[in-house]
């Protein structure tokens, strides 16, 4: 099911987070891959979601991100850098005891990362993975050096 609103997405994310807790991250990667295909089919490109942190490049054998797992691998770094800072919305959520709530993460991810509404399906599995891990665990390594 494609979420049409943030509320729909929050419900889907909570359900998926439960599944991830039971079965591991694979169901979320599969959902993420489908969401990326749907995003692409709407006329957006995956490149418009993934910052490169570098000038446009050419290369001997550039690879484009297509799978859910490779997208997560690249994008989780972006989320950490953007949203795991001290006093960020993500940290506030954790302090409010909602670290494991995927539904609460959906609007924070959507607005905090500057994503368009068309990317809402992409946010659902991301929220589910972070909620299953727990915000603290997800952000921990990036805040270790920050005191």
């Amino acid at each position: 099911m494609e979420p049409r609103t943030v509320s729909d997405a929050a419900v889907l994310a909570d359900a998926l987070a439960e599944k991830v807790r039971r079965e591991g991250e694979e169901p979320a990667f599969a959902t993420l891959e489908s969401a990326l295909h749907a995003f692409d089919a709407q006329g957006y490109s995956i490149e418009s979601l993934l910052p490169s942190g570098a000038d446009a490049r050419l290369g001997a054998a550039l690879a484009v991100v297509k799978s859910g797992k490779s997208f997560w691998s690249a994008y989780s770094e972006v989320i950490r850098e953007t949203l795991c800072k001290k006093d960020s919305e993500l940290q506030k959520l954790s302090k409010a005891g909602l670290s494991g709530s995927a539904g609460a993460l959906v609007p924070i991810l959507l607005t905090g990362l500057g994503l368009p509404v068309a990317a809402i399906s992409v946010v659902v599995p991301i929220a589910a993975i972070i909620a299953a891990l727990g915000v603290d665990a997800f952000c921990r390594w990036s805040t270790q050096g920050e005191t």
Partner: protein
Amino acid sequence: MAGARFLDVLGKVGYSARTMELDLQGDRIFVSLSNPAKAFLYDALDLTPGEGIRVGQLFGRRWTDDAALMRQFKAMPESASTEVLGFVGLIVHEFTHHLDFLTTPFGLNFHSKTIREYWSMQDFAPVLLENPELIPERLIDFETHFAAVQRAGRDNVEIPWYSMRAWDSLELKTYWENLRGQVLTFEAWGDASTIRPLGYQIEPGLLGEPNSITIFGQKFEVVTVNSFFTSIRPNGVNNWYLRHLTILETRAVANSLNWHLSLLGDAGLPDVHRFFVDVYGHEDLPRDYLFLFDLIARGFGSESFAALLAKGAIGAIREALSMLITSCWYALQAPPPMDQMSLLASSSIVRLLVILQTFDDIRAGRRKGGFASFVDLAGEVDQSEQAMKMHFRPIGEIMPFCRALTEKLAAMNEEKTWNPEVRSHFGRVLSLLAGSLGRRDGYASLSGMPAEGNPVLGLDEDDVALLEPYEPPAGVREWFTFRRDALFVFRPRSWTIDKLETHFGMHELTIPCTCGLIISGRISRFKEGMISVKCPQCERIHNVDIDDIFKINVGKTPKRQIGNS
């Protein structure tokens, strides 16, 4: 299959055209090789353990001339020989990119648009920073975001005051208009990388008319991107179209394969085939790498270039590689717009399609009469009816135009670029272009169409500056690191504001005039010497030495303030 570790590092090797940086992954690439591959390279390149590799060593002797070396190569595990070819090919690959951007009219067009984009951003960013709610998640969406904010404002009287000012600001609109052309062009070009415009910006047909084109028996749909850029895509494919990355990667891969065949001779064909399939056969590779290879292979009766390599017909393979190199070379001679009729003539893609159709006609026997060389053929194509209709200009006119433009831009750069690091970098880019474009008057180029695939061997002593190691200044890397993501990637507004402020933040200059008016305005952080400001009330002229200004730090960017003038 080559080692996963090696393929992983190979995927990270790259070239950044705007900063002119070749990222060869330092020692990582050599360290990632398997032991047999390393051992072979020590012998083949006359390396000494513990010492670095000089460019000259990579381009040393031909292995096919050394029977013992060839036996050693053939005795290696197949995965190791693929790694060896990947290693010696990567520098040919990346230098092909480097030279394509610094020795061709397309390269000048690319860099001149980059420079003009920077000048436009230099004006636009400070005004935008005063109106942060007008900053969209992708800067390229400014116009639609601006319209949305305007619509919201009409329904909401509590919109912040600065928005109201910006809406009426002719300054902001003018600056955006100046910037718009450059960013939409780069978007349509894929930013000479993998950027793709939104689906609705890619319209089927040419200037609103349905259109298709057939090349080597394959039918393509003609598309128009951002209402001006003409390209083609395979029927039924909606998420890709032929773009500059296709041309650039085709030349780099074809040069590498030619170089492999030069090192190994015809006997190396099975190894080259295996290398091609191992490195370029994976599904995560952008379509750009193989599109033209597979298209031209059809002209030789094969469904794909990999299939053509598998057939082992060395003559056909060499001819196909030559067609790929030369057709893309012809495409890269597309000049920056020379006049108002330049829309198609300045397009590398249109030039590529014209020359590919010519090759198709030759292969199919539809074109009568021979030609002595590609240079002669290209000259004939320039004079063809099709080229005339599209207002193509002969190469003899393109090159002097490019030289004059380079000279003009270099002078403008000294005047217009505020940031001294960026100014110095642009100066270097234009100086390299001036040198290389100044040494060529026609299509003939030993580095542009290298017989053995190695463009560096085609350079002469006058080209040495093109190979000098270069590290861009920190401010240059900062801007170009930020630019791509800010323009084309959805990023939080706070990130964009922070980065724009860091690079383009201005000083606010306030001058209390004797008539009682406080004169206020923005000046560049990099401004030096004297400035003159006329009071709009009493018309008194204030001549201010920048060094006499008293600075107050407010937030990130220090504000400059004059106590008494």
